[in-house]
């Protein structure tokens, strides 16, 4: 117990605390971006997209090539890459995803297959070593004793902007409204005149857009390789379960919880403890409230 308290003491240090918070925000933002698309696909099409991480990987490589090979400024390269990947992925929607709509179990295993195809296709195309997207800025911002890398700050700002845009889209556009209706009950939505095939395509596009953006940001602060997608996928999966599968606010809440847990527990108790804790919490939650914090139970 004493050991426990003495470890928490680290967090009282204002420098550390400030950084813990900044880190929590940037981790949360990325997790939320990946998880939102994941939960959207599940909520509307009942597809568990185990290939979701690979779209993040594709986004990161698009961003990498545009900045490094074509020397585009990142402010243009980022949106161009992300939209390009999402648009190109519509081919995959037609080739692969549409077979799995409303077939949850089949989608899990089948998309796992797609996951492998994308990863090892990536290995053939790009080799396995890790690459670096040049930092947008090498500067750091000093707020009192707290050091914030500008690079991270930009990521946080972009992620938050994307999340707000997503919120506005889902709340205030016709397509967003139709998507919410479809997420609640596809059949009813259909009888109300919602064109589900169209909605599926829009939802897919938006989900991949978010994943590719998350991947680009991930590649920007970490590194780019064909295996990039594995960690974001696992995190998205946990986030979505934590928040409730299919629930959009749930994904946001889950992402924030996980990001801050990782930041706080990792700092105070080390990485292994943080991994055990996040898994343990999710297991306990599944046992007592399998539908997640903000999800609704199914019959």
């Amino acid at each position: 117990m004493l050991e426990f308290l003495s470890r928490l003491e680290i967090l009282l240090n204002p420098t550390v605390l400030g950084q813990v918070i900044v880190n929590g925000i940037s981790l949360s933002a990325i997790y939320i971006l990946v998880a939102l698309g994941f939960t959207l696909l599940f909520g509307i099409m009942r597809v568990v997209n185990f290939a979701h991480g690979e779209f993040a990987m594709l986004g990161a490589f698009a961003f990498y090539h545009l900045t490094k090979d074509l020397n585009w400024p990142w402010m243009i390269a980022l949106p161009a890459g992300v939209i390009g990947v999402a648009a190109a992925s519509l081919v995959l929607e037609w080739l692969v995803f549409r077979w799995f709509y409303q077939r949850m179990f089949e989608s899990m295993i089948g998309l796992l297959g797609l996951n492998m195809m994308l990863i090892y296709g990536g290995v053939l195309l790009w080799d396995t070593h890790e690459r670096n997207i040049p930092a947008a800025s090498q500067e750091v911002l000093m707020v009192g004793d707290i050091i914030i890398p500008i690079d991270r700050l930009i990521v946080v700002v972009i992620a938050l902007a994307a999340l707000s845009a997503f919120y506005l889209f889902i709340r205030h556009t016709r397509a967003g409204l139709a998507m919410r209706a479809a997420a609640q009950d596809v059949e009813t939505a259909e009888t109300q005149g919602v064109d589900t095939r169209y909605i599926y395509k829009v939802a897919f596009f938006v989900a991949i857009l978010l994943a590719a953006l998350a991947g680009s940001l991930w590649g920007q602060i970490y590194a780019v390789s064909p295996h990039l997608g594995e960690r974001p996928l696992m995190m998205a999966f946990i986030v979505v379960i934590l928040g409730g599968m299919g629930s959009i606010p749930g994904a946001a809440l889950g992402g924030a919880l996980l990001g801050f847990t990782e930041s706080i527990v990792g700092t105070a108790f080390g990485a292994a403890a943080s991994a055990f804790l996040s898994f343990g919490v999710v297991i306990v939650l599944l046992v007592f409230r399998p539908w997640g914090i903000l999800g609704t139970p199914e019959n």
């Binding site: 396995t128 070593h129 890790e130 670096n132 390789s225 930041s263 080390g270 990485a271 292994a272």
Partner: protein, 409 residues
């Protein structure tokens, strides 16, 4: 989640080459479908001697396996171009058979079984990591197959095998750790407390604890933290160490990609002290990832690219595989093939008993990559089967690697 889904897997080099060619063409132009090309079989006038290779060709360790495979491939091409090797009055062309060991015990065993019992191969270089190496030697030793393994676990050499046929291909931190640490204590005097961050995978666990002991023996204070492999956000761990007032960070046991990331994040977290690694020599990749943050980073290194043969090797590699980063496994496995060939030549036979004794007496052999090498390890492992070669402690200055201290065996 790792995306390996094999119980076992396998590869031959033709396809790797093919896929590499494919990769280049894809990179150059539009992305087309997968093109299958039949590999052409050269008509062989001479006898063929197959050399086995083992390394991970799938999953997280793929870059190590590819480097090993490419190194062996280049060596075999060079040896064949020089007329092959002559032993017992016959001249042999060499041929590479390289299999995926999945970086796991099961995969290592399966691949070794196949090399030894189906392909009837007597000479193997690899596997790359400890778990597959330990499993592979349980197959190769009883079959009297010579294996030049990597894998840092002491058990690779120090085990109960009565009559082993395996050797280790290059230095481990048991060899190079203490001298470098001694040098650090003498040269970087203001360092008292060292933060050691390592993954809890096979490499990290095998390397970090002995290294921490070596540091403690030299009077350093050490804080050691293991993290779950796959972690990319190290800032919380770094902050924890910084709050405990470490003077320097040590990265040995990390993959170069992770080490590069940590370096970047350490500088972004505002740490100004020294960062180094006594082990893990893939500096190029670390520089690629960390960018400007790599300035001043110090590392163990065992390849001197200024050596005449090393220069040629680098050119040959870049001509064949592009200008990507070169992993130090590449020259190491290149060297391994040469070591094996030399022993066969000296034994003047392809019987493994004779080749083994020739290999045991190969001290002083030098192909111009490492300088002369020799076998050590009697005190540590009970057998003199640990290859020892020169090594360096280098520093990144102006984006380039500069050797600051050379250690010779």
């Amino acid at each position: 989640m790792q995306s390996r889904i094999w119980i076992e897997g396998a590869a031959t080099r033709e396809v790797q080459h093919m896929s590499f060619e494919l990769m280049k063409s894809l990179r150059a132009g539009l992305i087309g479908g997968v093109v299958f090309a039949a590999s052409s079989f050269a008509v062989l006038a001479q006898e063929t001697l197959k050399i086995g290779g083992l390394g991970p060709l799938s999953g997280g360790g793929t870059s190590w396996g590819l480097a090993a495979q490419r190194g062996m491939d280049l060596a075999i091409n060079d040896l064949n171009a020089a007329g092959g090797i002559t032993a017992g009055g016959k001249t042999y062309k060499l041929e590479l058979v390289f299999y995926d060991d999945l970086y796991s015990a099961q995969g290592g065993k399966a691949a070794a079984e196949r090399l030894v019992h189906q392909d009837k191969i007597k000479y193997i270089v690899g596997p790359v990591g400890s778990p597959p190496a330990l499993a592979a030697i349980s197959v190769t030793n009883p079959a009297k197959v010579i294996a030049l393994t990597n894998g840092y676990a002491p058990g690779v050499l120090k085990n109960d095998t009565p009559d082993p046929y395996n050797f280790r291909l290059y230095n481990t931190n048991l060899e190079f750790g203490p001298p470098i640490i001694k040098w650090i204590r003498e040269s970087l005097k203001d360092i008292k407390k060292i933060g050691l961050l390592a993954p809890n995978d096979a490499v990290g666990q095998a390397v970090a604890k002995p290294l921490a002991e070596d540091y403690k023996k030299e009077g350093f204070e050490v804080i050691l933290d293991f993290f779950e492999r796959g972690t990319k956000e190290f800032t919380p761990l770094i902050l924890r160490m910084m709050a405990q007032k470490v003077d320097a960070f040590e990265f040995d046991g990390n993959s170069p990609g992770d080490a590069g990331l940590m370096l970047k994040q350490i500088r972004q977290a505002g740490f100004r002290g020294k960062v180094f690694q006594v082990g893990g020599p893939a500096v190029d990749e670390i520089i690629e990832i960390a960018g400007p943050a790599s300035e001043g980073f110090m590392t163990y290194d065992f390849v001197d690219w200024d050596m005449p043969k090393a220069k040629l090797l680098r050119e040959a590699y870049q001509a064949k595989y592009g200008k990507g980063i070169i992993s130090p496994f590449m020259p190491a496995f290149y060297h391994g093939v040469y070591l094996m060939a030399e022993a066969i030549k000296r034994a003047d036979s392809i019987e493994t008993d004779k080749v083994r004794s020739a290999l045991e007496n190969i001290d002083g052999f030098d192909i111009g990559i490492y300088g002369p090498v020799k076998w050590i390890g009697k005190e540590t492992y009970g057998v003199n089967r640990q290859l020892m070669m020169q090594y360096f402690f280098s520093e990144v200055k102006g984006g380039k690697i500069v050797k600051i201290k050379k250690f010779t065996p």
